[in-house]
Each structure stands twice: as structure tokens, then as C-alpha cells.
Symmetry: C2
Subunit: 169 residues, 2 copies
């Protein structure tokens, strides 16, 4: 299994302002179109745009449809892969924790962002709060989280360890 | 805008072992079916299963298709809503940071989980590493993240603040 800890292939690229301007234009355009929040993103590889995405939470009735998640899904479909190795992600705003983790799972090479999480908070989005929550231990979070049936749950990982021919990701 | 910080409606329920057993069975079944990782999840409201989900990263070529993200999307489609207020999420394993943040964005009421992130790490999944990374400041992370065009990027949030009739989420 290729660990998230391993070195990424290639050296991080320098950001290209043309791609960031495109992400910002997507974000502003999404507001003008009334499709969702002010967020746009691109996946770029070797100087080519692989996919673009915008926030579609309210239009698609999908709380996970942030611009970065949307563009990762779209780029993976385009490339026929579940990893985006060698790809850079441009986003009009620093990713929220959901999107940041998605970027790691997708193995993107680098992230270029415009606004910060604090800028997002000032615009009414809870990204900063979410970073605080995720840094807390389970018992300190505002979301109640309770472990159950710990012994029985091990069965799923036993099945995984023993499964022949599984596709690692 | 309903903030993530606000109190959740209703008091957290006690977990129902039947639903957790179903999540664990989904996880083990997903391995047996060869569809993806050993993870299963349910969204439950008022004692009724609204949706079920499994990890589909490799089958769907979607690195964001963890069981919890999959079940949140499915439950939102079923309910025709971009929030899952009053819903509990049962998952065979403690959510990774992507899924945990998705659960906050979806406004789930409570989370019940079987395995821990440390159990997942022992089974070969990088959830614990990802929690460490997200707790770090941007400059300390292994993923290169660079801010660009900060002033120009403000245009997207200005557009949002000034947009009439926007749908808050």
C-alpha cells in the first residue's frame, strides 16, 4: 500500500497565477450563477487543466460537494484513476479539513490557495471552527462520538487482512 | 446561516447495537464483495435506517468515496436535503478527518463507531497520520501548500456578501 507518508513524486511546482485566477473566477461565477458558495478549484497536471469544480452543496443537495471534493472526483473520472499523483490543486480558498484530507487521500502533489480559512470565517463559513474541533480529542468535541462493539468491529479488519487479491489504495 | 457551533436539535441518542452490527456487516461484506476497503456506515433517524454506505474508493475510482461520505450523500438524496439534522451516523470505524468534517457539515447529531483510528492504522490505513497532519500548521505539513493572489481572491467573498437571495448552508 502506498502510504500517505511517502514522498510525493516530483518536486512541487511553482504556482501559476493564470490557474489561480481561473479558480477565483470560478468561485465568483458560482455565486453569480446561484449554484452554491463562493469557491472554485482546478486540478492541473503538466501545465494542463485536468478538471474544474465549484461548490455545489445547495444545488446538488450534497454537503460534501465542496469545490475541492468536486474537482477531485471529476479529475479522477477524467483520468480513470483513484489517485491524482503529480497533480496540483488550485483553490480559491484554503481547503476546509474535509477537503484537505481528501487532497491527501487523492495524493495531490501541491495545493495553491487564495483566501485563508480566517477569510472564509469572516465571510460566514465555519472552516476555522472545524479545524479547532478536529484538533480536539473526541471527548472535547461538540459532536457526540461514542465507541460501541469494539471487539465485534475487529471482524472487518480481520476480513481485510485475510482477503486475497484486494486492491490497495 | 446556521453555524456549525450551534446546539444540535434534540439530545444525542444512545447507540443501538443492531445498527452498529449492520455497519460492521456492511464493512466485512464489502471486503468479501471486493468492492473496496473494510468500512461500512448507516444514517439513522427516529430508529429508521435512512441510507447505508460502504467504501467504494477503488470500485468507483473516487478517493472521497469513504463509507461515511457515501452514506451522507445517499441519505441527503433520500431526504432531499443538504443537512441531516436529527440523524445519527453509525460507522464500523472512527471517521478519518475527511469524513469527520463531512459529518459536521451535514449536521449529524451523533456518531457511533466501532474500530478506532489506531485500529485502522494497524490494518494499514493512514487515518492516524492524517489526524497528525491536519493538526499541524500549514508550514509543518508534508503536503506543500502555498498562498497566492490573496488580494484578488477576496473578490469571491465580496461577490458572496453582496449576492441577493443566496442559499445559506
Amino acid at each position: 500500500m502506498q502510504s500517505l507518508k511517502e514522498e510525493r513524486a516530483g518536486s512541487p511546482s511553482r504556482g501559476d497565477p493564470r490557474f489561480m485566477r481561473q479558480a477565483i473566477a470560478l468561485a465568483a461565477g458560482n455565486v453569480a450563477d446561484g449554484l452554491g458558495g463562493p469557491f472554485g478549484a482546478l486540478v492541473v497536471r503538466d501545465g494542463q487543466v485536468i478538471a474544474t469544480g465549484v461548490n455545489q452543496v445547495t444545488a446538488a443537495l450534497d454537503p460534501t460537494a465542496h469545490a475541492e471534493v468536486t474537482v477531485i472526483r471529476s479529475a479522477c473520472r477524467r483520468l480513470g484513476a483513484f489517485r491524482l499523483e503529480g497533480c496540483d490543486l488550485y483553490t480559491s480558498c484554503e481547503p476546509c479539513p474535509m477537503c484537505l484530507a481528501a487532497i491527501y487521500w487523492a495524493r495531490c502533489r501541491s495545493v495553491f490557495y487564495g483566501n485563508t480559512a480566517e477569510d472564509a470565517a469572516r465571510a460566514g463559513f465555519d472552516d476555522s471552527f472545524l479545524y479547532q474541533e478536529i484538533r480536539r480529542s473526541i471527548s472535547e468535541r461538540s459532536l457526540p462520538m461514542v465507541q460501541m462493539l469494539a471487539e465485534e468491529a475487529q471482524a472487518s479488519f480481520v476480513a481485510w487482512r485475510e482477503a486475497p487479491g484486494k486492491v490497495l489504495y
